[in-house]
């Protein structure tokens, strides 16, 4: 365990491995911190913050009734702040240190041992960014994931319930899933161990080197090792929050007057502004997930344009055909669904693959937000399930298909062989389905338990008259608009 952590720490560990396994490998370059990459990652990090506050809060806020506007804004703001604090206390350590397949350890709790010049791995051997910027970048992901859930239970959940739910959820659901999907020993460790194996000459050294490589390969999250690929968080962020939202709206129950009262959005103008800020910030989310400002980041950047536009058009035209009118809410909902769907695929698919993904996701998500929701009559107020869970599942499975180099994808890089690995449709799609399934089960069941627990401790719903009065007044003692 200690040995593996050393590898993550960069230079000294790398040299240690190189020297002990095979002295000939002393020339393996130590990872150097690149100023350009560092700059890009700081920028990408604040772009993801913009997605959440103000982006997501305005997107959601515009969709609720006027009397619940501040409740929505406050809940989102609270969520990111609470998650950020927990992240630096123990979240980063639980996600990004080794330990078990399902959760990391506490060796980096309180950001212990991470100095300003501590190198953090990227996806390229020998290239590093300061680990601290990686800590912050990943922190913003945890923040937005938790905030996404709030839309499904909007307009009828007490603030005290949200205040308790979020820390529990981020700890018991998000941290394990992020660890399972994203934690691995890093390219430098794998590369060094693989080179040591190649350089080993006598059988004893070979066996020892093989053992070292196996140990490095075993140091990863459960789904990472299962081969599930998720570039920027289709499973970790979107399926995870989407299913937590669905069980949340089922347990919290429908808004008073659901299906009888008019619950029209109070400001689609703000929803439009929020959606645009989401799109804007999403370039940090997707292209930033490359961790380096390289051509691969640009691929994610392109896909974040293409899939989004295609999905927005697809939703709009389907709505036009089915409902008779192309709506503003429809085209921006389609854009968000496209962003969700392309998230796991953004660094793996080619632009034409993303285009097709966007077109397909628009139809699927529209169907879930209209027909399916109305058939089963669950009050997922702001369509967190229909857009994020369903869009996320569509994207996760499509990633397994579109990564195929024959379809313009990048393939999956094999750091042991030091080349792009062979693509096999069945293997990859099965791995993707495993990622989807594990996330749905873990988050679905775990979130249900947490919602129930919160209900027992502080209660989920306000008294009916307080809910009718609006959460702005009953929870926060203020009104959004006093003009």
């Amino acid at each position: 365990m200690k040995f593996l952590n050393l590898i993550r720490a960069g230079l000294p560990a790398l040299l240690a491995v190189a020297f002990t396994a095979a002295p000939a490998l002393a020339q393996t370059a130590a990872p150097t911190i690149n100023k350009g990459d560092t700059t890009w990652m700081m920028t990408a990090t604040v772009l993801v913050l913009v997605m959440t506050v103000p982006g997501l809060s305005l997107f959601y806020g515009g969709l609720v009734r006027q009397k619940n506007m501040l409740s929505m804004l406050t809940q989102v703001f609270y969520t990111v702040c609470a998650v950020f604090v927990l992240w630096v206390l123990y979240g980063y350590s639980l996600v990004f240190t080794g330990g078990s397949d399902f959760i990391g350890g506490f060796s980096k709790a309180f950001l212990g041992g991470i100095a300003p010049d501590t190198a953090g791995g990227t996806f390229t051997v020998g290239v590093a960014i300061p680990e601290l910027v990686f800590v912050m970048f990943q922190m913003t992901f945890a923040g937005i994931t938790a905030a996404l859930i709030l839309g499904s239970v909007a307009e009828r959940t007490k603030f005290s319930a949200i205040a308790l739910f979020i820390p529990l959820w981020i700890t018991f659901i998000y941290f394990p899933i992020a660890h399972m999907v994203w934690y691995w020993a890093g390219p430098d460790a794998v590369d060094a161990a693989a080179k040591a194996l190649a350089a080993a000459t006598d059988p004893a050294a070979k066996a020892k080197a093989q053992e070292a490589l196996d140990a490095v390969m075993a140091d990863g999250g459960y789904l990472f090792k299962a081969g599930a690929i998720d570039f920027a968080g289709g499973t970790v962020v979107h399926i995870n929050s989407g299913i937590a939202g669905l069980v949340g709206c089922l347990i919290v129950g429908k808004r008073l007057g659901y299906g009888r009262d008019v619950m029209a959005p109070h400001s689609l103008t703000m929803t439009m502004i929020g959606a645009c800020l989401l799109w804007f910030g999403w370039f940090g989310f997707n292209a930033g997930s490359n961790l380096e400002a390289t051509g691969s980041a640009v691929v994610a950047f392109v896909n974040t344009f293409v899939a989004t536009a295609a999905c927005a058009l697809s939703w709009m035209f389907v709505e036009w055909i089915v409902k008779g009118k192309p709506s503003m809410l429809g085209i921006v909902s389609g854009a968000v669904a496209g962003l969700v769907a392309v998230t796991p695929a953004s660094g793996f698919a080619g632009p034409m693959g993303s285009l097709v993904l966007g077109l397909v996701a628009g139809v699927i998500c529209f169907f879930f937000c209209t027909t399916v929701k109305n058939t089963f009559k669950y009050d997922d107020a702001l369509d967190v399930f229909g857009v994020h869970c369903i869009g996320g599942i569509t994207g996760a499975i499509a990633t397994g298909i579109l990564v195929d180099p024959a379809l313009g994808g990048t393939g999956v890089f094999d750091y042991v062989a030091n080349k792009v690995g062979d693509y096999d449709f069945v293997t990859q799609v099965v791995a993707q389905l495993k990622g989807v399934g594990v996330t749905i089960l873990w988050s679905g069941i775990g979130s249900a338990i947490i919602w129930k627990f919160v209900d027992l401790v502080v209660g989920l719903r306000p008294a009916p008259d307080r809910e009718r009065e609006g959460l702005d007044i009953s929870d926060h003692g203020e009104r959004a608009y006093n003009a």
Partner: protein, 112 residues
């Protein structure tokens, strides 16, 4: 004295005001209201949620006039607010017992 209350289409307000000014009526009160008569509402769709909106936005104007002016006022409003389509609105006339101008204390006809 009479109160003439008219429910009109919102975009007709300026024409109605001009017509009333033209016959010497100086001063009226406008309120934004919602309601329906023969004109039915419309459907609004927000993703999967469809709402039948039955109450349509209208303007309610109220004019206090001397009883002898009522016919002229009704004619002015009718000709200015009419489009010939359903939803043009209605005019109601009720008696007014007493009126006071707050600034001067003048009453009834002098206060109008």
């Amino acid at each position: 004295m009479k109160i003439v209350t008219a429910i009109i289409k919102p975009f007709k307000l300026e024409e109605v005001r001009d017509a009333l000014t033209g016959i010497g009526v100086h001063g009226l009160t406008v309120t934004e209201v919602r309601g329906y008569g023969r004109q039915k509402g419309h459907t609004e769709i927000y993703r999967g949620a469809e709402y039948a909106v039955n109450f349509l936005p209208k303007l309610k104007i109220e004019v206090a006039v001397d009883s002898s002016e009522v016919t002229k006022v009704i004619n002015a409003i009718t000709s200015a607010a009419k489009t010939g389509q359903i939803g043009d609105g209605k005019i109601f006339v009720v008696s007014l017992e007493h009126a006071v101008r707050i600034r001067t204390g003048e009453t009834d006809a002098d206060a109008l």
